[in-house]
């Protein structure tokens, strides 16, 4: 069976088991659905991994009775690159969800549908089918996010997600419609992806569309896909939805769903000739996302919000690296650009693994401690050793520290940037150095953020009674967590092999962009170089992992004999858990002294007055500055304007009928008037095409003289 059929059937199998299992009883159904996702995911992942190395893309057209649509699916390395995390993370999270949510067959079926629709998005090769799958994916995710809809915050998050997603769909619809209309004029089957490539292969067609047309199309795509990909400014739904969704769903959303926005952009970039500003805008979004995302992540009290903003940061890193890679390639620095692109792509996979791990770990913590508030957690490492260890591994990976996979990909980006700084000239070199400095700053902040997360949640003493009762989660949750942990470690150790699998994807991206760029020339050797660059990293990772693993085991043996006593407290005997550092106090210096004012959390303080102790309080509330400063005022204004329409909403049947009557009468009237106008102007029409009468000035001057 060919790989395309295997991937497609794996996706179909996942969805089908989800729905078919509904005829069983609830416990069995949820188990069967999760099992289906695991088996289908494993099958699909193998097929996708093999498809990464395929030489020629496959396409398959199936009969479909949809007007204007064609069921064209295809598989190429770019799709396979994104399919792999969809299947792997999807399978692991489905298994986790079975224990996390318990016997909820419809949620399991919805989850499977969500995975399956993402597979279809990646396989679709026709604009219509793509949008259809995109919408199914959006709605399935909405159903999962809004599962706990009795909670007002969850409903709010669901709305935010739904509205943002539909703005995204509208932008994509416009983008595709513009492309389709333009290609339709030139006699092509307007929405099939294979015909979009004509814009690239024929210089005439791309010239006819022009710079402005291409910019409009890519601008709309940036908005549409950028909303999904959590680009800064368009990310407002992301923290809300990730915090509200069940943890395994947040894991899939953060690890895979937001990457699909990136896939959409890359797909268009490969298919169409991109405007020259594309790389620059991409990297601008990226650098803002990386810095502001991590700065906001540092302030959140909600553990899942912290992780969600960290996703904004990581997507920012990927956007930045991709945008820089495109820009460097345009300046002829092909080899270095290839290394940066390989780093960006590897980071997509690595982020999928580590963010999946972190969200699952957070889910396990939330399940055990019953709260998402970091200020109420604490001391969980002793109570939940597997979850705690997984969270530490994930945090080290996300912070980009050596033994784990986050380091490998970020390192590739840094090496590529430093190479550009050396080889490039003038502005390009400066740009690379600036980008490297800003990335390093984001990395430093990320380290701080994850020290805070791990330190507050796992170390110290429990800050709340409920947290003190927490116990390690069941095997159903710790096993998927361990699998993800293993994946992160393996991704670090085998990073040279992983990056060499990216050869054809980097090739596709390198061959993209301009209409005349020859594929597979530009990236020649870049990926091999990247693999060579990574081999010391992998050796160091392996050595460090072994040493740390041995140290942990040894430490456990050693500490088992040691007596447990209270922490030394300078002789003060009445120490309570309330005296510990809190998450807010940990990041207080950064958030009140370092960050610019508009990024700081809102705070109200009432200072004590007088000599004797009196009333004092401090309230601080973190909020997204983009939401607070931009969207809320804007949306409120729109809502106020639209409030005028409520006048028409009288609630009387007769009024509504009257509206219909008025509409009918106006329609009649318009038809009569239009016919009249048509009758009157009909004889005049040909006049437009007649040559204009000679102008008075054109008269011969002799006539004037008479």
């Amino acid at each position: 069976m060919n790989l395309l059929a295997q991937v497609g059937l794996a996706g179909l199998f996942i969805v089908a088991t989800g729905f078919a299992s509904q005829c069983l009883n609830a416990r069995l159904a949820a188990t069967v659905a999760a099992l289906g996702a695991v088996l289908g995911g494993a099958w699909g992942a193998f097929a996708a991994a093999r498809a990464l190395g395929m030489s020629a893309p496959m396409e398959l057209a199936l009969p479909w009775a949809m007007p204007g649509g064609e069921f064209v699916v295809g598989l190429d390395p770019l799709s396979a690159f994104f399919l792999l995390p969809v299947f792997v993370v999807g399978a692991v999270c489905a298994a986790f969800g079975r224990s996390y949510l318990g016997a909820r067959p419809w949620s399991a079926a919805g989850f499977n549908l969500f995975i399956g629709s993402m597979v279809l998005v990646l396989l679709a090769r026709h604009g219509f089918l793509f949008l259809l799958a995109w919408e199914v994916m959006t709605l399935a995710a909405y159903g999962l996010i809004a599962r706990a809809h009795h909670d007002a915050e969850v409903r709010r998050a669901g709305w935010a997600y739904l509205i943002a997603s539909h703005v995204s769909v509208v932008a994509l619809l416009l983008c595709f419609a513009l492309l389709g209309a333009f290609l339709g004029e030139h006699g092509h089957n307007s929405l099939a992806f294979s015909d979009w490539a004509i814009l690239k292969s024929s210089i005439g067609a791309s010239a006819a569309l022009g710079w402005g047309g291409m910019s409009t199309i890519f601008g709309l795509a940036l908005v549409g896909f950028g909303i999904k990909a959590g680009a800064l400014g368009l990310h407002v739904w992301l923290p809300e939805a990730h915090a509200a969704a069940p943890s395994h769903v947040s894991a899939v959303m953060s690890a895979v769903l937001i990457k699909l926005g990136l896939y959409g952009l890359l797909r268009l970039y490969v298919l169409l000739p991109a405007p020259p500003w594309f790389g620059a805008v991409l990297s601008l979004f990226g650098v803002l996302g990386a810095l502001i995302g991590i700065a906001l992540s540092l302030q959140q009290r909600d553990i899942k919000r912290t992780l969600a903003y960290s996703s904004v940061e990581n997507m920012g890193i990927i956007w930045l690296a991709l945008g820089l890679g495109f820009m460097f390639r345009a300046h002829g620095l092909d080899a270095a650009a290839g290394v940066v692109l390989a780093g960006a792509l590897l980071h997509v996979w690595n982020h999928a693994a580590m963010k999946g791990l972190m969200f699952l770990g957070a889910g396990s913590v939330v399940h055990a401690a019953g709260t998402k508030d970091i200020e109420r957690l604490g001391g969980l490492l002793g109570k939940m050793p597997v979850t705690g260890l997984a969270l530490i591994v994930g945090a080290v990976a996300i912070a980009g520290l050596p033994p784990l996979n986050g380091f490998a990909s970020e390192w590739l980006v840094f090496v590529g940037l430093s190479r550009v700084a050396r080889e490039g000239t003038g502005a390009v070199s400066l740009l690379a150095m600036t980008a490297a400095a800003l990335l390093a700053m984001a990395g430093g902040l990320a380290l701080l953020g994850f020290v805070r997360l791990v330190g507050m949640a796992l170390l110290g003493l429990p800050r709340h009674e409920r947290t003190a009762l927490a116990q390690e989660s069941s095997v159903g949750m710790t096993l998927p967590l361990s699998v993800m942990t293993m994946l992160c470690c393996a991704a670090a150790v085998f990073s040279p092999r992983l990056v060499s699998r990216l050869d054809s994807v980097v090739g596709a991206l390198s061959g993209a962009g301009g209409p005349a760029a020859p594929a597979a020339v530009a990236h020649d050797g870049a990926v091999r170089q990247a693999a060579e660059l990574l081999s010391p990293v992998s050796q160091v990772s392996m050595a460090l992992l072994l040493v740390v693993g041995a140290a942990i085991l040894g430490l456990r043996q050693w500490t088992r004999a040691a007596p447990r006593t209270e922490t030394w407290s300078c002789g003060y005997t009445a120490a309570t858990p309330r005296m510990q550092y809190t998450a807010s106090s940990f990041s207080e210096f950064l958030s009140t002294r370092v960050l610019p004012r508009w990024l700081q959390p809102l705070r109200w303080t009432e200072r004590p007055e007088g000599l004797l102790p009196s009333r004092a309080q401090m309230i601080s509330r973190e909020s997204d500055p983009v939401t607070r400063k931009t969207y809320e005022p804007l949306l409120r204004q729109i809502a106020d304007r639209l409030g005028l329409l409520r006048f028409f909403h009288q609630g009387r049947l007769q009024m509504y009928l009257l509206y219909m009557l008025v509409a009918v009468v106006l329609g009649f009237g318009w038809i009569s008037v239009r016919d009249d106008a048509g009758r009157n102007t009909a004889p005049l029409k040909p006049a437009r095409f007649q040559p204009a009468p000679p102008k008075p000035e054109a008269r011969p001057p002799a006539a004037e003289g008479r």
């Binding site: 609630g651 009387r652 007769q654 219909m660 009557l661 009918v664 009468v665 009649f668």
Partner: protein, 216 residues
């Protein structure tokens, strides 16, 4: 001769439109709308002599439903809901009549401009159907009782039925669908009777004006 008879029947329809708007008694409006339905049924037979058997079936069904079943149900509903026997309009009777006259004039003016098939041009059927549709709308928007809503809908539906007669040769099933619409009206009436709309929303007769309490 036949043509002038058809025209005469159409004039009756115009007259019944104005009568529905002008009368203050509920029973009269019901009877008038029923009479309009019966006239429409006769028109089916007169206009489609070439498919006489089929036209007879349609006409029979129309007359039975519009002329007998629905008025009977409506009268019964009137009794069982103890609705007051007056129409109670939002817009007075003379104003309604004026509106109806304007609607009739507009319908005739508009029908002249429609790009009709040659054999339909100059016929009164199209203006009659439009005037009836508009009258139905006027009744729907200016009367407040549930029963008058049904009557308004019936009148509107009569107009649609008349328009469909034009297409009887081209789309034979359309008129039959019109008969099905009548059944929908019957179900409306039954709903009023069975669900006792008046008990839930108003103490004095079924009054759709009270629905606005359901407004968000």
């Amino acid at each position: 001769m036949k043509s002038s008879f058809v025209e005469a029947l159409l004039v009756v329809i115009f007259f019944l439109n104005l009568f529905v708007l002008g009368t203050s008694r509920l029973r009269s409006t019901i009877t008038a709308s029923a009479a309009q339905g019966v006239v429409a049924g006769f028109l089916t037979v007169l206009l489609h002599t070439n498919h006489l058997g089929r036209a007879l079936v349609v006409a029979g069904g129309t007359i039975a439903i519009k002329g007998a079943l629905i008025p009977t149900l409506l009268h019964r509903a009137l009794l069982s809901t103890k609705t007051r026997r007056e129409v109670e309009p939002y817009v007075g009777f003379s104003a309604s009549l004026l509106l109806g006259a304007v609607a009739t004039g507009a319908a005739i003016l508009f029908a002249e401009r429609l790009p009709l098939a040659i054999e339909h041009q100059g016929m009164l059927l199209v203006p009659a159907s439009m005037a009836t549709i508009l009258t139905g709308f006027i009744v729907l928007t200016t009367r407040r009782k549930a029963i008058t809503q049904v009557v308004g809908y019936l009148v509107l539906e009569n107009g649609v039925f008349l328009m469909a007669l034009l297409l009887h040769d081209a789309l034979p099933s359309l008129v039959e669908v019109g008969v099905l619409l009548d059944l929908l009206v019957a179900i409306f009436v039954l709903a009023i009777v069975i669900h006792h709309v008046q008990r839930d929303f108003s103490s004095d007769g079924a009054d759709v004006a009270e629905f606005h309490r359901l407004r968000e």
